[in-house]
Symmetry: C2
Subunit: 459 residues, 2 copies
C-alpha cells in the first residue's frame, strides 16, 4: 500500500488523515482489506502502535470496520457516497463520536436469531404470501403484534385494528392526510414530525411541557387531534403524570378528538414504574403507534398503527391498494421472531445494555461535571444534560469542534411554542447513548462531560 505522509506533524494524526483521504477519494473501495498493523508499520517506518491507533480512530469515525478474524476493512458506502460519508455531518465537521439521539446499537442486532426466523417463516409461508399481499399487513404479523402489545404495553386490540406501515413517519403522514385540521402537539418534539404535519396543512398548537410531561389540561378548544409521547416525553424524558393521562382521555371522550400515541421507546424503562400504553385506557379514542426503529433496527422499516375500529378503513384507503411498502417477507420473519420469544429476549438484553450505558453517562457526568443535572434518564436511549440559559450554543460549538455529534434541546422546541410559566429548562444537550461503538463510548463521555462543565461555568 502506497501512502505519502507529510514529513511534519504528529505521526498518528498524519497517518489517520492519509487513510481518510484514501477512502474519501474512492481509491480504496468499500470492503477492501487493510494491511495488518505490522506490515503497514514496516512499510512506513512507524511504530506498530501508531498504526493501531490510527486504525482505531478510523473505526470509531466509521471509515473502517473491524471484525474479529477478518481484520480491518474499508466500510461499505463511505467511499461511494462521497460527500455523504456518514462520518461527516452536513455542517462539515468531522465526527469522531456520534451521540445523536434516535438510534439503537447497530452492533447488537441479533443476526443469528433473525436469520433463523427468516428461514423458518420462509419455509412455512403459504403460497399467497409471495403474491401482491394485503396493504393492511400480513395476518401472521398482526396476530403476533396484537399479542405482544397487549402483554408488553397493555394495548387492547385485535389483529383487525392493526395496520402495518414502514415506520412512525409513514404512519403519521397517513393520519395527517386524514385529519389535516388543528393538532395539539407537545412544545418539544422531532422537527421532522413537525414538518410532516406542516406538509399536510395541519395547524399546530404546542402544549407547554414540564417535568410531568405535556400540559394536557391546556388543550385548546379548536384542536381535533393530540400528538403525545406519554411514556417518555421526547426529548425531555418526562413521564406523563397520571392526572394528565386522564385529562387527555377525558378531552378525547368529551370532544370526539383523537389521540396519537407515539410509543417510540416504550420497551426501554429502567425504573420500577413501567408505563402502560395510553391506548389501553381508551382504545376507541387513541391511535397507538410503534415501530422496530428503536427496539431492533431502523433498517427493517417496519412499524404499526393500532387504530380504533372506525379508522381502519379510512387509513387503508389513504395507504392505497398497491403501495403496501413493508416487505411481506420481513413481516413474516418478525411474526416468527415475536412468537418464538426472540423479540422479548432481545428487548430484555438491550434494556440491560442501555441501562448500563445510561449509568455510565450519569456517573461520568457526576464525576466530571457535578454541577450539571442529567434528566430524562428513567427510560429510553437518550438523556438531557441541562445547561444554564445562554450556554447551549457555545457548548454545542465546542462539542462539535471536538468531534462530538449531538443536538441541543432548543432545536427540538416547536417554533410556534410560546413561553409558559413553570416550564422546564429551555437549554441543554440531548445525548444519545445507545449507538456509539463500545471502544469509543468512554472517551466520548469524558469529552462531553469536560466540554459541558467548562461551557456551563463560563459566563
Amino acid at each position: 500500500m502506497h501512502l505519502d505522509l507529510p514529513a511534519d506533524g504528529p505521526r498518528r494524526g498524519v497517518l489517520a488523515e492519509a487513510l481518510r483521504e484514501g477512502v474519501r477519494s474512492g481509491r480504496w473501495g468499500g470492503g477492501m482489506r487493510m494491511p495488518a498493523y505490522r506490515s503497514l508499520a514496516a512499510d512506513l517506518g512507524l511504530a506498530r502502535s501508531v498504526v493501531a491507533d490510527a486504525y482505531a480512530e478510523l473505526v470509531a469515525e466509521g471509515w473502517f470496520v473491524a471484525r474479529q478474524g477478518s481484520g480491518t476493512r474499508v466500510a461499505e458506502g463511505v467511499a461511494a457516497a462521497g460527500a455523504q460519508a456518514p462520518a461527516v455531518r452536513a455542517g462539515g465537521e468531522r465526527v469522531a463520536y456520534d451521540l445523536l439521539q434516535g438510534k439503537p446499537d447497530p452492533a447488537s442486532f441479533p443476526r443469528a436469531a433473525w436469520a433463523a426466523s427468516a428461514r423458518r417463516s420462509l419455509a412455512a409461508a403459504p403460497t399467497e404470501a409471495f403474491g401482491p399481499g394485503d396493504p393492511q399487513g400480513r395476518p401472521e404479523l398482526r396476530r403476533a403484534l396484537a399479542g405482544y402489545l397487549a402483554r408488553a404495553r397493555g394495548v387492547r386490540c385485535g389483529p383487525e385494528n392493526i395496520v402495518v406501515c414502514s415506520g412512525f413517519a409513514n404512519g403519521l403522514r397517513l393520519l395527517a392526510s386524514l385529519r389535516p385540521r388543528d393538532w395539539a402537539v407537545e412544545a418539544y418534539g422531532l422537527p421532522f414530525h413537525h414538518g410532516i404535519l406542516d406538509a399536510a396543512g395541519v395547524r399546530p398548537h404546542p402544549l407547554p411541557v414540564d417535568e410531568d410531561g405535556a400540559r394536557t389540561e391546556e388543550i385548546p378548544a379548536r384542536a381535533r387531534t393530540l400528538l403525545l409521547t406519554p411514556a417518555h416525553q421526547f426529548p425531555t424524558g418526562a413521564r406523563l403524570l397520571p392526572a394528565r393521562r386522564a385529562a387527555a382521555v377525558e378531552w378525547a371522550r368529551a370532544t370526539g378528538g383523537l389521540i396519537v400515541e407515539d410509543d417510540y421507546d416504550g420497551e426501554f424503562r429502567y425504573d420500577r414504574k413501567p408505563v402502560g400504553a395510553l391506548q389501553g385506557l381508551a382504545p376507541g379514542h387513541v391511535v397507538h403507534a410503534g415501530s422496530l426503529s428503536k427496539s431492533l433496527s431502523p433498517a427493517l422499516r417496519l412499524g404499526w398503527l393500532v387504530l380504533p375500529d372506525h379508522l381502519v378503513e379510512r387509513v387503508l384507503a389513504a395507504k392505497g391498494q398497491r403501495e403496501s411498502w413493508a416487505s411481506a417477507l420481513d413481516q413474516l420473519a418478525l411474526a416468527d421472531f415475536i412468537e418464538c420469544g426472540a423479540y422479548d429476549r432481545h428487548v430484555r438484553r438491550m434494556r440491560l445494555r442501555y441501562r448500563d450505558r445510561r449509568d455510565r453517562l450519569v456517573s461520568v457526568l457526576a464525576e466530571r461535571a457535578p454541577r450539571l443535572r442529567v434528566t430524562g434518564i428513567a427510560a429510553g436511549l437518550h438523556a438531557v444534560v441541562e445547561l444554564p440559559a445562554g450556554r447551549e450554543a457555545p457548548v454545542l460549538t465546542a462539542a462539535r469542534a471536538a468531534g462530538l455529534a449531538l443536538d441541543g434541546l432548543s432545536s427540538y422546541r416547536h417554533p410556534a411554542a410560546r413561553t409558559a410559566p413553570r416550564e422546564g429548562p429551555r437549554e441543554g444537550l440531548v445525548v444519545g447513548y445507545a449507538a456509539p461503538a463500545e471502544a469509543a463510548f468512554g472517551r466520548a463521555l469524558e469529552l462531553l462531560a469536560d466540554i459541558a462543565a467548562r461551557g456551563a461555568a463560563e459566563r
Copy 2:
C-alpha cells in the same frame, strides 16, 4: 368436524358451500388443518371423491391451501379479512380462476435460494447496515444492480445513478412530484399509474398505440416528460419499433425532455429478439425503472430508478432523508441473490415456465376459438385475446359469471385518448397466465376459450 349439510342439491356443491361458510364465518382459523378426505367422507356419509373434489375447488378458489406432506389447511388471511377474502372480487362474484394480469407465479418463489442469500448477507453485513441507512439504497445492492442491468438489459449506469425504491409506483410518484407539468403517455396503460400522475397534477397527453407501440413521432410540443413501456407495450404487448425508439430519444435530446422507461417485464422475452433498454441509447435523457414485482415477487416491495446524473439529488430530496422505505436487509439479500447467480437462474427458469404457459394459452385458443387472434405473446406474463367491436363487455360478463377473473383491454385505455387512424383493436381480453395454480390452469384456459369463442360469434 361438525358440518350441517342441506339434504338436497348436488353433494359436491353443497359440501363446498358448507366448507366456504366454515372459513368465511371465522369458525375455522387460518392454518387450521382440515380432516383427511377419508375421515370427513366417513363422517358425512359421502363418497371420498366428493370430498376430494370439494377440497380441490376450495383450493382453486383460495380458501384452502394444500401442501405436499402437510395435508389441506385453511388459508391464512381469508377468515380474518372477512369480506376481503382474496377469492371474492370487489364486484362480489366468486373467483375460481384468476387470470388477472400483473402477477408472477407465487408458487415458484425460490424459497431455499432466497433464504440462503438472506442468511449469508446477514452474516456478512457491516455493523452500519443495522443503523438508519442511506435513502438511496444499500451500496451493495446498487453495485449488484448496476452490473446486472448492464448485462441483462443493456443499461449504462454506475451505482451512483441508482435509487432503490419500493416498486414502480413509488418511483413514478417521486418523478411526478418533480415534474408536475405535461407528460406524454401511451394511450394504453395501467389506470393505477394514470391515477398517480393525476394526483400529482400532471396534464396527460395520450399517444396512439398500434402494432409497433406508441407513436413517438406524435409527441405534442408541450410535453416535457414521456412515459413509455418500450420493451413490451402494456398491455397491448407491442415491441416499440426501432425508428420510434430513435424518435423518442431524438425528441428528448432536441427538447431537453425526459423519458421514463417502465421496464416492467423486460426479462421475459420469448422470441429471438431481445429488446435492450432504451436507457442504453441515451443515459442522460432516460430514467430506467424496474422492480422485482414481476421477476421475483411483489411481496418484497423492491424496485429501482436508474437516473441521469442531474436527477439523482433531486429524487433523493423528494424521497426524504428518513423514509427510505425498502428494508435494508432485503436489499442486502437481493444483492447476494444477484451476485451469486441465483437471480439469473430464477429468471431463466421462469422464462421457460411462462413460455410454456403462453404456448398452452395459444394452443387451447387455436383449438377452441380458432377465429380469435392472440397478440402480445412475444414476451411477458400476459397476452391479449382480440375481440370484435361491441363484444368485450358481454364476454367479460359471461367470463366473470363462470368464475374467471380477468380484465378487458378497454379498461386500460387512457380516458383522455382520442380515436386515431390505423390504431390497433380497441376491445379484447387481457389474460394473465403466470399466476394460476397448475391444477386450475388447463380448465381456466378451456373455459376462457369457449366463452370468448361463443361471445365473439354472437352478434
